[in-house]
Each structure stands twice: as structure tokens, then as C-alpha cells.
């Protein structure tokens, strides 16, 4: 392969040496001004250094690292379609809770409850009362309190009728009703 030897200026034969050393050690400077693997490694090591100190505390790595073309290797179609709703994840789903006769309202995050049982228990704790068991026919009979909620249409609804997931998305505020008004709501028709 005489052709190879005559192009000795371009071939860095030292580079073909098998080494087990890490990249970034005694590499000759690259001819172009684009990012080489070494530069990127240095970048990430730098960031790793920073993140060692901070990442465990949840601080984000500085955004100064520029995006590399085509990396991570995700198809453009996929990148455009997904928009994760991070803000919602962080702020939760807080709704106001009012109780008839109470001087001020409370607020709870519906997202932290897995279902109606947990929600009702939490309300019982918060307001120091007993709500009792739900039945489709009788509502919350046996208790002077009935948990109700205002849905997206503005209607006052009894808590427990619809599947939990549906409730979570349609509930705008909660109202704990008391006394005759409460039993009126729950009585079978």
C-alpha cells in the first residue's frame, strides 16, 4: 500500500497505537474547529464535576452546554409530539374545601390521594368529623355530613358517584354539607 506512505502528512500513525489510556491525554489538537469527542468529554466531565456537588440536591446543571445536532438520537417526529406537562406535576391539583359553618376554607391536593377512601379519611381528619360510608342508594346516610363537589359545569354533585379518575379531573371545589341540607341531598328518590 505505497499510496498510504506517500500521504504520511495526513496520517497520524501514532494514533493507531493501541492505548488503554483515557481520551483527553496527550492528543494532538484537531485540525478543525468543530467539537471533537475529547472536547465533549471534557465538557461532560466539567458538568459531572459540577453535578457531583449539586445534583443530589436537585439543582439543575447549567444550561450553558449547547445542544449537539442529532443528539440524543431521537427522531424529529417524536421530539415534536411529546410535551410533558411538568408544571402540572409540580403544582398538583389543589381545590378549595369549604365546610358549612366554618370560618375559613381549606385547600387540598387531590393528586396525593389514590381514591375516595383516602380522600374522605383526609377530610375527616382535617375537619374533625365523621362522614361515614358511601352507598349508591343512600349517599352518606348515618352521618350529618355529606361531601359534595362542584364540577366543571357548576353543578353540585355528591362525591363518590363517578370513577376516581373522572372525579379528579372534573372536581373544581369541595363542599362539606351539614345538617338538613346534607340529608336532603343524599336521600333516595
Amino acid at each position: 500500500m505505497e499510496g498510504v506512505m506517500s500521504h504520511g502528512n495526513d496520517l497520524n500513525l501514532k494514533a493507531t497505537e493501541l492505548r488503554l489510556g483515557l481520551p483527553g491525554t496527550d492528543e494532538s489538537t484537531s485540525k478543525n474547529n468543530k467539537r471533537t469527542a475529547n472536547e465533549l468529554v471534557k465538557n461532560s466531565e466539567l458538568l459531572n464535576g459540577k453535578s457531583d456537588a449539586k445534583a443530589r440536591d436537585g439543582e439543575t446543571v447549567p444550561a450553558s452546554k449547547s445542544q449537539i445536532v442529532g443528539w440524543p438520537p431521537v427522531r424529529s417526529f417524536r421530539k415534536n409530539v411529546v410535551q410533558p406537562k411538568k408544571t402540572e406535576a409540580e403544582t398538583g391539583n389543589f381545590v378549595k374545601v369549604s365546610m358549612d359553618g366554618a370560618p375559613y376554607l381549606r385547600k387540598i391536593d387531590l393528586k396525593i390521594y389514590k381514591g375516595y377512601q383516602e380522600l374522605l379519611k383526609a377530610l375527616e381528619n382535617m375537619f374533625k368529623l365523621t362522614i361515614g360510608e358511601y352507598s349508591e342508594r343512600e349517599g352518606y346516610k348515618g352521618s350529618e355530613y355529606a361531601p359534595a363537589y362542584e364540577d366543571k359545569d357548576g353543578d353540585l354533585m355528591l362525591v363518590g358517584d363517578v370513577p376516581w379518575d373522572m372525579f379528579m379531573s372534573t372536581c373544581k371545589r369541595l363542599r362539606i354539607m351539614k345538617g338538613s341540607e346534607a340529608t336532603g341531598l343524599g336521600s333516595g328518590v
Binding site: G3, N12, E17, A37, V74, R78, D165, M166
Partner: protein, 617 residues
């Protein structure tokens, strides 16, 4: 005696038939055998000695018609002249993995009876914007030849090809028996082209439009199907956003009784979906539309019932946007599912856990990393038959380590899903130890694609490079066919690959390696390597030239942002005339640098449609 190697995927029944016929006809009285007039033999047939299989051509052709795999057919065609000819007369399906490796004219001369064509064009890295616009891979010149030679063409499947609306119109009007069109990752056309297909292809059985760079000018194309069209079996328009006429869709689904795959787009609401399901309970694959609509309890119940009536449902996909609301309606359909594609749904761990709890028979699962390690733990405990897992990043550019999945999720899946053999995993941290354990649990990996999203990322616990992780993969997984690397890697990784990955066919490398030696190890050590794509690695001319004899045995090599120069490329091109060595230079870079190099074997010579920025040496 001639020996023919066939792939083990050849169906046992086909193989038995093949052997039976071969044995029977070997015993035939030679006087009864006659051969076809040899003037029909094309100029392209290989040299051969007198055939030791003196079958009548008709008999051999009958026997060979049992072969479907194009790889088997290639083997068979190399046996001798008679077999070459019999094979070319009986081939009906054409598979061309690189559209520039051959020309339409050569294909037309060799194969007279093609009914189905699969064509792949641009290098895979074009999916990630590494290939400039107008690079090529235009299908039109192929269609023109096909129209002359294969007027009875029925199927066309294109991947990473360029085509415009004129081509689609030409396709729709040139082949009266056209049945199936599949477009994946293609570009250059619009919904107007689809209108032509819907209007003119009276016997259409398949229209499969996936993830293309196309212009969506409106949903009117769906209304172009004639009222007589009732042959559709596959309809996939999930990736188009425009609203289609639900009335037209409903009527189409109603009259296409053989419809088995239906994937609708976001414009279809849940109650519309329910109506479609009631009309087509025979569906095997369903892509839902938008899952976001608020349903009344009655609608909710109706949807659940519709799903439970789809007894044949094996694949579910779609789930655009926020879908947590109504997932329980699916539960009735989940037990029969084998493939669940949730990769567009931003599900959390709990939501995924509930779905997989109902889906014990899942073989393939695609999810977003919003499900977290916890979600993957649920997969590990609920899906013992899982064979394929793909975890995509919801927000690829997010640096925060607290999002997405880690090694823990992958480990959890490997503990519970011992049959796992295909993985695509995007994560932000990984350890060598975790990967070693994972492949211990799942030694049957054939496809291992790990993407640690920060380039050059180390093992976060030991701070070492990730060499040992991929070393473990290639040592343990002897059936490995496809490997994608990431993280901080030295030449050691490539030494391991060259030494152990004897069945490796496709390798993808980015931001890795220390010297030319790395690439050399792979080129010298992996006998079955067909596709090699490399970006941003310190591999230079010596590495490139070390493979000078290997590239003809491969489909292609891509190298970008490495240390290769024009002179080495010119040398390679000069020594190997049956390779096309194409170079693309970046704006403002040094004259001598070969920024992007694409090398592939070809019998068609340098391509005549190369744009000005592509230089063929």
C-alpha cells in the same frame, strides 16, 4: 454435489416441501428432463460449470417458489446458472436495503416478475438531521422503470426515501392492481399525494403512513376513497394531524369487512372511536385517537364494552396527549395484548403499573421515561413474557437527573423478564455493574441499544468509563446482532466488540473511542458486520483504510465528525471501484477534511443524481 445454506427462519413446512420435491426429482428418469432454451439467460448470471441438478426449469421454479426470504434466494441464486435463472423467474418480492446499491434498470433486467418492492434510501443518521436536505433517494426514477417492467406491481414499501406528490400520482395511475403502500420516515410529499392514492387505487388493501416529513394540508384525502372501495385491511394515518371527515371514515370502516389494522389520528375523539370499534370488533391492531375527551358515565361504559368486544386485539397504540383520564376502559382488552405502544403518552408509574397488571401476555412494550423506575418495576413484576422494551425520553434535552429512568428501572425489568432480547433504553445515568447484571439475567439479547443521553458520561458510581458494561454485553450475549453504544468509552470497548461480537451485524457509535485502533478492532474482528455508523469519534485515516477490503462485504459505512481526510477517501475510492465513496463537507471547514463520509457497495456505479454538496470520489 451442491450445498445451499438457508436461514433457519425458513418455515419447517416450506423446507420439508423443498426437500421432498428435490428428492423426488433427483430420481426422475433423465430422459424425461428437459431444460429451457438457454437464450433466455441474462448476461448477469454467474459463471458455472455444467449443472449437477438437471431438473426441468419448470420443476426447479416450482421448488424455488417455496422460498420467501430474500437472503435464502440470494444464496440459491449463487448455486449455478440454472438455479440463478430459476430463482430470478420466481422471485416476486424485491428487497433493496440501499437504493443506490443497484439501479432500477439492472433490477428490471434480472427480475421479470416482481409484485412487491421494499426500498430503503437515506443513511439512518438522516433521522437525526445529520444529512442535509435534497440529498437524494428519490423514488421517481424507480417508479418510471417499474411502470414499464412491472405493470402488475401490487406493493411498495419505502423507508427514508424522498417522493413528491407527482410521484404518488404517477404511482396511483400506473399500476391498476396496486394494493399496498407503506411510507416510513419518508419526505417531500403532502396529503395531496394521498388523495391520488385514495382516488385511483381501486383495490387498495393497505395504506400505512408513518412518521414522515410530509405536509399535512388537510384531512380531505380520506374522503377520496370511493364508495366501492371495500378491500382495505390496513389503514394507518396516526401521524397526520388534520381532521378527517368522521362520516367518511365511519362509512369506510363499515364496508371494509377485512379491516384488521386501524390507526387513527388525534382528531378522532373517544366517542367516535367507540363507534368505530363497534363496527370493527375484528381488529387486530388499533391506534387510538385523542384520549382526552370527557365522557358521561354511559359513554364511559359503552367504550369499555366496545373494547371488551374486540376479542382479537393484539396491538394498541396512539394515546396522544394526556391520557390518564380514561385508561381503565382498556383493561378488558389488555389480557390479549402482545404489543403495547404507549410511547406518546406521558404516563406516570402508577398508571403504567395498573395497565401492565392487566396485560400479562405482553411481548413488546414501548413507553416514555415519565413512567420512571417505579413504572419499570411494575413491568418487571407483571410481564414475564416480555421480549422487547423501548423507553423513549419525554424531554431529551432536559438535564435534570431527577427525570426519566435510571439503571434501577432496567435492572428491575431484567429480573422479571428473562426473555428480553430487544432493548432501546434512553437514560441519564448507568453503571457497569448494572449492565453486567442485566445481561446475566437476560443473556439472549439480539438488539442492545443503550443511550446514556449525556455524551461521554461515566459510570456514576465508580466514575470509570463504561467499557466494562459493553464488554459484558458482547461476552454474554453471543447472539447479539445490533449494538448501539453510549457513555464514556475507550478503545477497550472496541477490543471487546472485535473479540466477542461474532454475530454483530449493525453497530452505532457516537462520542466514543480513543484512537484508530478502536475502529480497526471492529473492522477486523466482526465477520458479519453489515452496517457501521460512527459520529464524533477520534477515528482517522488509518482506521478508515484498515477496512478497505471489508467494505464490499457490508451494506454501508457512515463516518461524520471524525478525523478522516479527503486524501484517504480518494485512496479508498481508487482502490475499490465497486464502492461509492461520497463525501459531504460542512460549511466553512478545511478543504482537506472529509466531514461526512458515506461509503457503500454498489453495482450501479457513482450515482447520477448527487446534489452539488455530495462529492463522489
Amino acid at each position: 454435489m451442491q450445498v445451499v445454506w438457508l436461514r433457519s427462519s425458513l418455515a419447517l413446512r416450506d423446507l420439508q416441501a423443498f426437500i421432498q420435491h428435490t428428492v423426488v426429482y433427483c430420481k426422475m428418469d433423465p430422459k424425461l428432463k428437459k431444460t429451457k432454451n438457454s437464450s433466455s439467460n441474462s448476461a448477469n448470471s454467474p459463471d458455472s460449470t455444467h449443472s449437477s441438478f438437471p431438473f426441468p426449469d419448470e420443476v426447479l421454479e416450482r421448488v424455488l417458489s417455496f422460498l420467501h426470504s430474500h437472503k435464502d434466494r440470494s444464496s440459491v441464486s449463487l448455486v449455478c446458472k440454472d438455479w440463478y435463472n430459476a430463482e430470478r423467474w420466481t422471485r416476486t418480492k424485491l428487497f433493496i436495503g440501499n437504493c443506490y446499491s443497484v439501479s432500477p434498470e439492472i433490477v428490471a433486467r434480472r427480475f421479470p416478475r416482481i409484485k412487491s418492492v421494499t426500498l430503503k434510501g437515506k443513511p439512518r443518521f438522516s433521522d437525526f438531521n445529520l444529512v442535509p436536505q435534497h440529498w437524494g433517494a428519490d423514488v421517481h426514477s424507480w417508479l418510471v422503470v417499474f411502470a414499464k417492467v412491472y405493470p402488475f406491481l401490487e406493493e411498495l414499501r419505502l423507508k427514508r426515501m424522498t417522493l413528491n406528490d407527482e410521484s404518488l400520482k404517477f404511482l396511483a395511475t400506473s399500476f391498476p392492481g396496486f394494493k399496498a403502500l407503506s411510507l416510513l420516515s419518508c419526505e417531500g410529499f403532502s396529503t395531496d399525494g394521498l388523495k391520488a392514492i385514495a382516488t385511483h387505487c381501486k383495490n387498495l388493501t393497505e395504506l400505512d403512513i408513518q412518521e414522515n416529513g410530509m405536509d399535512d394540508l388537510g384531512g380531505g384525502w380520506l374522503s377520496c376513497f370511493s364508495e366501492n372501495c371495500s378491500s382495505l385491511e390496513v389503514l394507518n394515518f396516526a401521524s397526520l394531524n388534520s381532521e378527517v371527515s368522521f362520516d367518511a371514515l365511519e362509512k369506510l370502516v363499515r364496508r371494509c369487512k377485512s379491516l384488521r389494522i386501524l390507526k387513527v389520528n388525534k382528531s378522532i375523539t373517544l366517542d367516535q372511536l367507540q363507534q368505530l370499534l363497534v363496527l370493527a370488533p375484528q381488529l387486530i391492531e388499533l391506534g387510538t385517537g385523542s384520549f382526552q375527551q370527557e365522557l358521561t358515565p354511559l359513554q364511559y361504559e359503552g367504550l369499555g364494552i366496545a373494547f371488551s368486544n374486540c376479542k382479537n386485539l393484539q396491538t394498541l397504540s396512539g394515546f396522544w396527549e394526556d391520557t390518564s383520564l380514561h385508561l381503565p376502559v382498556l383493561y378488558a382488552a389488555c389480557p390479549s395484548l402482545t404489543f403495547l405502544n404507549l410511547s406518546y403518552a406521558t404516563l406516570r408509574s402508577g398508571e403504567l403499573a395498573k395497565i401492565v397488571a392487566h396485560s400479562p401476555n405482553i411481548r413488546r412494550l414501548w413507553v416514555l421515561d415519565t413512567v420512571g423506575d417505579k413504572g419499570l418495576e411494575a413491568v418487571g413484576s407483571s410481564c414475564p413474557f416480555l421480549e422487547e422494551l423501548r423507553v423513549f425520553p419525554a424531554d431529551p434535552f432536559e438535564q435534570d437527573l431527577h427525570h426519566g429512568v435510571t439503571e434501577a428501572g432496567f435492572l428491575a425489568v431484567s429480573h422479571g423478564c428473562r426473555k428480553l432480547h430487544y432493548v432501546l433504553y434512553f437514560c441519564r445515568q448507568m453503571t457497569n455493574a448494572a449492565v453486567a447484571t442485566i445481561v446475566q439475567n437476560c443473556p439472549d439479547f439480539t438488539h442492545f441499544r443503550l443511550c446514556i443521553m449525556n455524551p461521554g458520561e461515566r459510570d456514576y458510581l465508580t466514575n470509570e468509563p463504561m467499557d466494562e458494561a459493553f464488554g459484558a454485553v458482547v461476552k454474554t450475549c453471543t447472539n447479539l446482532q445490533r449494538l448501539a453504544l453510549s457513555g464514556l468509552l475507550t478503545d477497550l470497548t472496541f477490543e471487546y466488540i472485535g473479540k466477542y461480537a461474532k454475530n454483530l451485524e449493525a453497530l452505532s457509535v457516537a462520542f466514543a473511542g480513543s484512537s484508530d485502533g478502536g475502529m480497526q478492532c471492529v473492522l477486523q474482528g466482526c465477520p458479519k458486520l453489515r452496517k457501521l455508523e460512527i459520529r464524533d469519534c477520534p477515528f482517522g485515516n488509518a482506521a478508515l483504510l484498515s477496512g478497505i477490503e471489508k467494505y464490499e462485504t457490508m451494506r454501508s459505512l457512515w463516518m461524520s465528525a471524525c478525523n478522516v481526510t479527503m486524501s484517504a477517501c480518494k485512496l479508498l475510492a481508487k482502490e475499490m471501484p465497486r464502492l461509492n465513496v461520497e463525501v459531504m463537507r460542512d460549511e466553512g471547514s478545511d478543504e482537506s477534511q472529509a466531514d461526512k463520509v458515506y461509503i457503500y457497495r454498489t453495482v450501479a456505479g457513482p450515482r447520477r443524481d448527487a446534489p452539488p454538496f455530495v462529492v463522489t470520489l
